[in-house]
Symmetry: C2
Subunit: 225 residues, 2 copies
């Protein structure tokens, strides 16, 4: 059975809590897709009744601001996407786009709801996830708006290193223009600050490859604004 969700169970605590019955239901009712970097997963303004499980890969959540497209969050697998849409207006209020190759499963909302109803542990996991996200968004709000560009850039680099790639060396999955939309600045400033950090020996840039040399200083910059 190729599409057996049991094979997925090890990758996420949440899924591993599902009852056999629910796992079977899930296996029978989902569509799995392989996506390439740049492919759209969710498109703002379109209709949807699917919950999407990001099985592998990295994605950006972004939406139209008054002037620019704003990236509000980077998400890496495993993670559920699109819950606010499916539990809300059914019109996607934001876009999600793969920034690396990715595998996603489309699960019908009805099925997902049934599974929620029948798996308390799973429901609690999902709620906890929401809670974590809310806290994160609060912190992000306080940080982004108060810090100067260098601080926000430092933040973003640390997040990539610690949270997304879990390595001091990684390949920036965003163009500088995209990076600017994540950090709330201009493309040019991203370029400048990146050069500065390199010149100061805090990071080493090699094309799109970034190595973090001095995490302490980066943390300091992040904290001081």
């Amino acid at each position: 059975m190729e599409n057996d969700c049991r094979n997925c169970a090890f990758k996420t605590k949440a899924t591993s809590m599902l009852s056999d019955c629910s796992l079977d239901q899930l296996s029978a009712n989902h569509l799995e897709l392989r996506l390439k970097k740049g492919d759209s997963i969710i498109k703002q303004g379109t209709y949807s009744t699917n919950v999407i499980f990001l099985r592998t890969g990295l994605a950006k959540i972004h939406l139209a601001g008054p002037y620019n497209e704003q990236i509000v969050k980077m998400v890496n697998a495993p993670s559920y996407l699109g819950l606010p849409t499916t539990f809300g207006s059914k019109i996607n209020q934001y876009s999600v786009t793969a920034v690396s190759d990715a595998e996603v499963c489309y699960i019908d909302l009805k099925v997902f709801e049934t599974i929620l109803d029948e798996n308390k542990e799973f429901t609690r996991e999902i709620i906890q996830e929401f809670c974590k996200n809310e806290l994160e968004s609060f912190r992000r709000c306080a940080n982004r708006t108060q810090k100067l560009i260098r601080g926000n850039m430092a933040d973003a680099l640390l997040e990539f290193s610690d949270k997304i790639f879990k390595s001091n060396t990684f390949i920036l999955p965003l163009s500088q223009a995209e990076f600017a939309n994540l950090v709330d600045t201009s493309r040019e400033s991203v370029s400048r600050v990146l050069s500065e950090f390199d010149k100061d020996g805090i990071i080493k840039i090699n094309g799109k490859k970034i190595e973090i040399l001095n995490k302490e200083t980066l943390l300091l910059i992040s904290q001081k604004g």
Copy 2:
């Protein structure tokens, strides 16, 4: 029975969905308090295992940013507070403070979890609430960081008028300094922009009382940055 949660049921869809059994359990296991303007409901950094139900009144959610205290959100009753804490680390990651007189109920997390487990409709309501919050935070993120001060001020005024007080005339429940922390600007800029809006006939200021005279213009300012 003074503390009967049934009396509360009409005020919130969520509560009205609870089973009789759960309502009894809730009635027997909660502490109700009357608070005055300025009283702390949740304090960042302290330990807590209570979910808090804001029964009446208006509160601000705020936390320490790198430089200032940042208000991330205004919340009016009826609403649950502190879920991210109780479902997470048990240490409050943000503060909540009453900005008007308020009534709150402290519900033990265990009791709340039991009620969640036993009331699917209620659980779904809570999840939907989380979804709404997430969308709101995304939008806020895109707006706050891209708009100029006038735009954010217009936003905030419209939110007070439409969402919080549901009236064109209201008394600002925040000092200008607090308002600045909500809108991500300086106390002086709040003063200046408020005067501008008044001079331009968009709003009428009378001490702490604000009347919105020209909502269309305000909306325009909000959209144009």
